[in-house]
Assembly symmetry: C2
Homo-oligomer: 387 residues x 2
Amino acid sequence: MKANTNYAKLESSYLFANIAHKVAEFQKENPQAAVIRMGIGDVALPLAPAVIEAMHKAGDDLSKKETFHGYGPEQGYDFLREALRKYYGRHGVELSMPEIFISDGAKSDVGNILDLFALENEVVVPDPVYPVYVDTNVMAGRKITYMSAEESNGFLPMPSRETTGDIYYLCSPNNPTGAAYNRAQLTEWVDFAREKGALILFDAAYEIFIDNPDIPHSIFEIPGAKDCAIEFCSLSKTAGFTGVRCGYTIVPESLIFDGMSLNKMWVRGQTTKFNGVSYISQRGAEAVFSEEGLAQVREVIRYYKGNAMIMIKAFEELGITFFGGYCSPYIWLKCPREMESWDFFDLLLKKAYIVGTPGSGFGVNGRNFFRLSSFNSKENTQEAMSR
Amino acid sequence: MKANTNYAKLESSYLFANIAHKVAEFQKENPQAAVIRMGIGDVALPLAPAVIEAMHKAGDDLSKKETFHGYGPEQGYDFLREALRKYYGRHGVELSMPEIFISDGAKSDVGNILDLFALENEVVVPDPVYPVYVDTNVMAGRKITYMSAEESNGFLPMPSRETTGDIYYLCSPNNPTGAAYNRAQLTEWVDFAREKGALILFDAAYEIFIDNPDIPHSIFEIPGAKDCAIEFCSLSKTAGFTGVRCGYTIVPESLIFDGMSLNKMWVRGQTTKFNGVSYISQRGAEAVFSEEGLAQVREVIRYYKGNAMIMIKAFEELGITFFGGYCSPYIWLKCPREMESWDFFDLLLKKAYIVGTPGSGFGVNGRNFFRLSSFNSKENTQEAMSR
């Protein structure tokens, strides 16, 4: 048996595993240190009461023969897909039910969707970038090129006449930089992709943080996007589902490449390699999109956005350059004195007991930047800023 | 963008989707018909009380800040991996913790594990076969060869000197035939694979139905298997988790191909493309392996095995040739008068309102066979047999 040697081209371990290892070492040597974790994008607050109630009820359903649910549809239950159809409707996006797929999280689908594309496609990712986009393509052996996200373009690269490539990853609001494309910029991207016959993989994981009407929540708010884009989103950030596992993927029916419908291919792929998301998680997700659930969830998001404001104020006072923080849980700050980001990581951990994510972990352009997240308690955020 | 045209080589829809469509049509035309579904392998009985209790408690954990669980380890929580380590110990199999991976079901991992193998490997599957083994490899563009499972070998193909191939799929107790390899047969397979440098993908999804000491529950009961096999299992059949979604995959640390550790590659793959299984599902799964949970689960399995005995008795009385049924929830029966299996499907649906699975859906060798499952109520099983 021959192994897939593309794996040998990967860095030996995943960024967040590296960080976890460094922090564990530090904690072992300094057990008294009150470390504040502002690195990985995990949430701090518990689930909304409406979600808990729905999941309890779902558990009860499974305890009785009359209400038991076995295998569900691989694409997700209609009750949840319908709730999502309405949620998209709030932003003026019309989706058909077959375009909506329930996933166990955006990370899984962002990786698995690659099955639908030929290996010889050229993949274009921004630098800095969420490492999953790169690693999943390296594993498959695809050619990757980078487009520069940097201070001069506000960390929002745009296509040009010279840009070549078949598959473009856009994440807006962006992980790691927190920068978000406005309507005019996304329109430019959609027009470009349609003209070139390219595909955009749009990661909308942080859409719930948007409170600026000029920043689209979904790429499908842009006319023509249904001919050139797939969108991924997750309830991990929207509703603190990092441990519950539920997300969604939109694959428009009008996406046709080489005469093949990507929507039909994805149905075929999912029915073959997936058995759907836990019934309990899907009932919890349905509750997120109820009036009561959305109100509770937005309350939590306001809390995290309050943390971002605490950071923004601190950085403005200190005169530190930063990006993001407004329509995003992430703040992307410039390391002091051109410091390399891993050096800044070590310094911050050792001197202030604060864990962040070094920009280098996201690409060359991140070498002098550092990502902090607002997914923490208000007290910890304030404490971290005062340190 | 170029689509993965391997998808065009697939049959247009998945076997069970086809059957569901046919049954829906029939029900629409005959709303009064009391259809009994003995086709797809979904369970009928609700979850064990110990599982429900554990999942309720897990939901409560997520409702409070102090006990909230966000992102879990991609490989699964140690509490569940440790429970599995002990479960394997009951059959004399010693596993290390890093060898145990928690999945959202065997189907996902059986599909996703293929990422680890080079595309040029030759894949060998039995005919008849669980369609997922074939379709996932067709999607990736691998060469597939078949080994004949037929009446003369009891639907249990064995390797010979002439057998060539790199990756072998074995499912025991088998889906769809219900046939199960004994210790001597599996030893022959393991010796063969080690000699040839081949890999066995062992699907143990139905191990809980085994009550014959000569039939191994795990391929790792066979000496040397850790050098040549990966094992997949699921709680779908063990504990009725078809809607809860939790399974496990064993990737031994000693599996080295082309100097690469498949275990380390799988860790890298899972941490990149997966975010772990729902905390609630994992707590439910942990409860399955408690003394109380195992006792409750085994009670349910006894019930399904009772259904299989009802079928076995009926077929013996009618002089119908069949396989399986003893260490398996499936009975694989020969269609009367050399009938083609889809014809028999139509006949059984129209005349007796019984849904089974046509053997043709699993391969050429299934053309005159038909799969019935014991995952139904005792009453329905009795009613079906009398019809």
